[in-house]
């Protein structure tokens, strides 16, 4: 029983992090109907930058955020405006995947050349201990990851719901033509949407560096996981992806403590295929993702 509780608690904590990692993907799909395969590669780019910060300047990895968040925002805008916006609209879904796939390969190759292909990790002394509540051990690094993810997602939702930019962004996601009719510069908004999505990758990657060792090829394993999350949640729905992330995180945590790691990861794909067979538009997304 305590084993299950342990799995449940860890699952909720990692699920929160998954929600942050997948939120960018939902944004991209929302504003442009594209699947950004390079998102996990950018996550690990951020992780390596945090690693450099930690080893070269002996600084806390979170101190990279004031630099990486704006840089990643600019990169996101550039990727959308300079690359994705140039693709022909008739086969955008397939071609955008290939384009971002090429970006992912480019980043992986550069990371491998600069940092070599071996595992790197960041261990902070505050991250090695764990908190024990009622027989359940909660590692501090997972708690920190959850809190950072929660704060970032709260900020993201605040921007999306409260700000004028957020309203324009949501209008663009809901109906592009209608948004243009009421005077929203949808192209520019889509670019900023990509910027915001990639900015979440800067935060997510830094957190990821703290809790797991990584190598340049690590992003492949995450593509499948994060894709499963956004499909189960309903493509394009940020809130749906967050919910699906926590659900899948809990399922993964429970399978991890009861069976093994292979099956825990396999759960993502099982859920992905079940969702596509039973409800291709996802469980929390609704009309938007229909027929994608």
């Amino acid at each position: 029983m305590s084993l299950l509780l342990q799995g449940l608690a860890l699952g909720v904590l990692t699920g929160g992090l998954y929600a942050l990692l997948a939120s960018g993907l939902s944004l991209y799909f929302g504003v442009m109907r594209v699947v950004m395969v390079a998102h996990p590669a950018f996550l690990f780019l951020a992780a390596y930058l945090a690693y450099t910060m930690h080893t070269a300047f002996a600084a806390d990895p979170f101190l990279t955020l004031p630099v990486t968040v704006p840089v990643f925002f600019a990169l996101g805008v550039a990727v959308q405006r300079l690359l994705l916006a140039r693709l022909a609209p008739d086969n955008l879904a397939m071609m955008s995947v290939l384009l971002t796939f090429g970006i992912a390969l480019t980043i992986e190759g550069l990371l491998g050349t600069v940092y070599t292909g071996s595992y790197k990790s960041i261990s902070m002394d505050y991250a090695t201990r764990s908190l024990t509540v009622g027989g359940v051990h909660l590692p501090y690094d997972k708690i920190i990851a959850f809190l950072v993810a929660a704060i970032t997602l709260a900020a993201l939702f605040a921007v999306l719901i409260r700000s004028r930019f957020g309203q324009a962004l949501r209008a663009t996601i809901q109906h592009r033509e209608a948004a243009r009719l009421v005077g929203i510069h949808t192209e520019r908004v889509a670019g900023y949407g990509f910027g915001v999505g990639l900015a979440t990758a800067a935060v997510g990657g830094t957190v990821l560096a703290l809790i797991t060792p990584f190598l340049p090829a690590s992003h492949w394993a995450w593509i499948g996981k994060l894709m499963a999350i956004i499909v189960v949640g309903g493509l394009g729905s940020v809130a749906g992806a967050a919910l699906a992330a926590v659900v899948l995180g809990v399922v993964e945590g429970l399978v991890l403590v009861t069976i093994d790691a292979t099956w825990a990861t396999m759960m993502f794909y099982v859920f992905l295929f079940l969702t596509l067979l039973v409800r291709p538009q996802g469980f929390f997304g609704g009309r938007l993702a229909h027929r994608f």
Binding site: V34, F101, T106, G109, I223, F292
Partner: protein, 330 residues
């Protein structure tokens, strides 16, 4: 014109068949065999990608399954390789039918996601199932030709891959002239309209998916026999599928020889990068940048570029009414 192009075809075939005897060393035979292997796989990929427009980044799953299937049948069941190779390819094709039934229910982005997930899943299973596959330590497959030395082995496998390439090209050519191919093309142009006209789109897509998996699985099986040592991380690498996609796109997905042309450019370039730059990962960057450039500037491929210049503009506009409207609105 017809005679000239036929003559060119015969000449190319003769040159290909004579290649191992024209090069000065066994390394070039090895590189040639690798190139022909990629050409066969890209042509096979193009049975799905070219006709239906469904881009799969998951075909390395079939490559890996074909390789492991053949390897396991040879090592665990002591089957002769001539039986193990087709048996495992057929098993993989049956598996592809099952996957296809789930995968072709979705279109566009979701289909690509499914195909990526397929590679991750199969990789996970093969690595996790240690008792059967040897897990991440890999699987050793005995050479089917113990009498030959390595160089002679390269020559034999060069011809085996060449035969596979011919088979894949012939299949593509036949499909292109058949009713089946016309149905697949209809799916590419407008799936909903095709369906409303009575084209059994789901069945056709599954058939194309399975058929394109078949030749890739055969290539995987041959690869297992050729290299003799299988590493799940390499065999189930998403990079293999990205090469198939890149080669097909670069050459031209709507043309019989497009993937072959792409393979003749990409595979030697890859080998050259490996020699010139050593075992660094920068070749990934080269592949990635090339893919971005092709997608941005030449998504219709080299052959279409060359042919299009000569034939002039098509009589039916390439853009849809919606695009035309967008252009006017801007």
């Amino acid at each position: 014109m017809r005679i000239a192009s036929r003559g060119l075809l015969v000449l190319a075939a003769v040159l290909a068949a004579g290649y191992p005897w024209m090069v000065p060393n066994y390394y070039l035979v090895y590189a040639g065999a690798l190139t022909v292997m990629y050409a066969a796989m890209a042509t096979s990929w193009n049975i799905l990608g070219g006709f239906t427009g469904y881009v799969s980044i998951g075909h390395s799953a079939f490559f890996g399954l074909g390789a492991y299937g053949t390897g396991l049948m040879v090592t665990r069941w002591d089957l002769p390789w001539t039986a193990a190779l087709p048996a495992s390819a057929l098993l993989v094709t049956a598996f592809a039918v099952l996957v296809g039934i789930a995968a072709v229910r979705v279109r566009g982005a979701s289909f690509v996601i499914v195909s990526i997930a397929l590679v991750s899943m199969t990789n996970l299973v093969v690595q996790g199932w240690r008792s059967l596959t040897g897990g991440s330590t890999g699987l050793q497959v005995p050479s089917p030709f113990p009498g030959l030395h390595r160089g002679q082995g390269h020559i034999v496998f060069f011809y085996l891959f060449l035969a596979l390439l011919a088979l894949a090209l012939l299949s593509w050519w036949f499909i292109g002239r058949s009713r089946f191919g016309a149905g697949l093309r209809a799916i590419r142009e407008d799936e909903d309209k095709a369906e409303s006209l009575g084209v059994p789109t789901a069945a056709l897509k599954v058939a194309a998916f399975a058929l394109s998996a078949l030749f890739v699985a055969l290539a995987g099986g041959l690869y297992a026999l050729w290299f003799g040592s299988l590493d799940p991380i390499f065999v189930f690498s998403i990079l293999t599928s990205s090469y198939m996609v890149l080669m097909s796109l670069l050459g031209g997905v709507r043309h019989l020889f497009g993937p072959l042309l792409g393979a003749l450019i990409i595979a030697p370039a890859g080998e050259y990068f490996l020699i010139a730059l050593g075992e660094t990962q920068i070749h990934l960057t080269a592949t990635g940048v090339l893919l971005v450039l092709v997608v941005l500037f030449m998504p219709e491929g080299i052959i279409a570029r060359l042919a299009g210049r000569r034939a002039g503009a098509p009589s039916i506009p390439e853009e849809s009414a919606g695009q035309r409207l967008q252009g006017v609105a801007r």
